[in-house]
Symmetry: C4
Subunit: 264 residues, 4 copies
């Protein structure tokens, strides 16, 4: 009997350990299998819709782990409705090379040209977050104010499409415009688009999701601080922006949002 | 066996294609059948309540596809509670000509007179969106700031009811007031009502739903930009406002909201 | 068979009429039966919690239809948790005279003294709505800006408790303070309490619910208008505030909120 | 029969009394049993996530009732996902001494050092509430404006990490930084962290939950008042801040939030 009790205790303890370690906020390795990557991309679409980053028109992509000259991006449907069957595989010319046939987002060139220009970037978000819009139209630079947005680094560049292409419908609808935007982005983690929104880049889907969310939190807090402080605002020291970078890969946010999406 | 496997693969692929194409964000043709139009109108009532455009007092209508001198509008109940049995058919004098008998909205004349004055308009929203109110009472013009609100065109006219009728209860309660409002609207896509709200017009229910929502997004962003930018704000160039117009008929927004309403 | 078909048609039509008329936004007569009044009060507690007017500390009461010298108010629990078993019957001295025994809200004197001073008032809300707080501490008067808040009439009085009782814990914890507040309220439809919140009064529960909600909507819009308009804001003309009063008894709002509470 | 009816009435009345008294907003004694304390801590994690105080990165702890030199705090997972199996027992050096083995929050030293410096503190929250951020970066002091935030006492101190440790990643990642923060906190009920968030302390979990929530409400209202009032704002008199303190231990808020968490 004692032996059985001991076995039961050991079993119970092991179960607890297993349950616990499965919820450890360890940095998940980016999936190498395309089905796994596509599943993560679908989840990212839903997470970013739920936490307010993506409206019906924004999008998120991930560079293929099998082929760094390809990336995955959904068809031109609302991010909140994306399933695995909607994911298209593109080459860096933003031409479809895999996945179910479908019409892509008009602005898929945002993703293709950024992946081409930035070998370090593994995931890209294009969003219309209302919180950043005032920073796209006033000349006031969006800068890191809170430690969770340290990744912004310094003032974020603003892409003014008229400098590249004069009067347009304001969409990044071809490779030339995509290259112009990528040039404005340079080595930054984000860029704003005047009267339009933003792009955010990162080394993984989890990180790009966290960065997009906290960019909006920073923007809203910065605007309030500017108004209340009559312009006298303390931003992150450049050294702090550097050091605060490797938070935890925003893994904890991803785990919380993943649970919240599943609970809906 | 190989033959059967092949058949199964073909069947699976076909199902995927069918599922995918049914979710293509193609521009849905406006329904010509009155039952279909009424069903879409009911859905519009619920979508616009869910996304915050309509409170218990706002309303949305659609011009009849069978008879351009008629339009459909619910009885005087909250938009969020409308069913097909609540829809009334009106002539352009805003007199009931069909549907279950019922008391109409006091302000049904907003719809009748706009349909009369604007043969191009197929759907009308009257809302009390709080975000636009500051633009109705300060003389600051609501103008397109974001590409999703390019439809605003230029500064939106403001209807001051005292110019037409002196001191009133501020409701558009007869044809004369409806005509005065329609005159202020002119050829614009929207007009504001001082201390009251707005009207938004469009070539379809899907478009009027998207326009009403993004008008509020624009209003809120514009107000924040004006305050943060100390008045120095970059608006859409008139040419951009023209070119950015045919977004996608706001079809993608409609699909997302339709899914969200169904999930409630 | 024709006779049966006719009967079926008549039956179907009658059902539709019945269903429709039961959802007509007619002004519901205030219930005369105490159980019915208590049920309405419980619903008001839940509606006002759901629509953001009442936090865990606010409360709402209704004058007894059987005895105008009595009123109903819940025990000192969060409004969102109130049931019929929690409702206490008070006299105008805010002493319990009926209902299950229980500890009342410390500030029940707000209700008792207002019912005593205002024979026209049948329902009272005391709330901590954050939107009105800035108007209680800046000297900027809360005034009707939108037609849905016409009931405010003119600038709303602000009760400064230090004028009555010096340094206190800021609660209306006895009849003397209740009388002082009622005096500040005078014949107005609402009064603000400095650094605390507001009281709103009305001829019925449905109206006090609508007034409380739209007071907050007005406050938020007014604050934004004041900031954007650099002080130049157009308020309702006094005549408009008078005429816009009998909206519909806020019956349409009540019906919407009642449906939303039931759906939770 | 009459006797049976009488018995039934007595039984019914007793049941009502029992039901009522079980929902009396009496001040619950802090649980002395560790399992009970851990259960309350888990609930606090979920309440504070639901009411917006804690994002994926904030945390809440409670001093052990069995051993005042120990405290309970979850592993480094999002507060909204915490279960009893995730709670760790720490000593005042923030070293694990009990509970399932796990990696703790990097900033557990916030809790350990505050418990060491403040024998009166039984619960601690560390949050990133966006509403307080502007007060951490503008030099404008957060002060009690509303009676529900009287606990703030007076202007809240701001911890500037560069004064202690120069350029860092801005986290309180060791005992030295924890001591520096505790020194800034002094005998206050809260302290702000520049560009980061806040800590709030209290004699119990229920009180620290209510204080954290109403600190954010106060911050938002204060910011709006400062902007609208052109700087002329009436704050709580110091005497009022003292007297308004023993509200009800925020017990009513806790009961409401507990019910709302259970209903999700």
């Amino acid at each position: 009997m004692t032996f059985i009790r001991a076995l039961l205790l050991i079993a119970a303890g092991s179960c607890l350990l297993l349950a616990q370690s499965s919820r450890e906020t360890k940095t998940e390795a980016a999936p190498a299998n395309s089905a796994a990557q596509i599943a993560e991309l679908v989840l990212a679409n839903h997470i970013l819709t739920m936490n307010g980053v993506l409206d019906a028109y924004g999008h998120v992509s991930v560079r293929s782990a099998r082929n760094p000259n390809h990336f995955y991006l959904a068809r031109h449907i609302p991010a909140g409705t994306v399933t695995a069957a909607d994911v298209i595989e593109y080459d860096l010319d933003s031409k479809q090379v895999g996945g179910n046939p479908g019409t892509g987002y008009t602005e898929r060139f945002i993703h293709g040209e950024i992946y081409r220009a930035r070998p370090d970037v593994m995931a890209v978000v294009h969003c219309h977050s209302p919180e950043v819009i005032p920073f796209t139209v006033t000349g006031v630079p969006l800068r890191p104010l809170i430690h969770m947005a340290a990744f912004l680094g310094g003032p974020i560049p603003v892409f003014e499409i008229r400098d590249s292409a004069g009067i347009t419908d304001m969409l990044i609808r071809d490779a030339a415009l995509g290259r112009a935007l990528a040039k404005t982005l340079g080595n930054n983690t984000a860029a704003l688009l005047r009267g339009h929104g933003a792009v955010v880049v990162a080394p993984s889907l989890h990180v790009v999701a966290g960065r997009s969310y906290y960019m909006s939190v920073n923007a809203k807090a910065q605007q309030q601080a500017i108004q209340m402080g009559a312009g006298k605002v303390t931003y992150l020291d450049p050294g702090e922006a550097q050091k605060a970078l490797p938070q935890d890969g925003y893994e904890r946010s991803w785990q919380l949002w993943k649970q919240q999406v599943a609970a809906k």
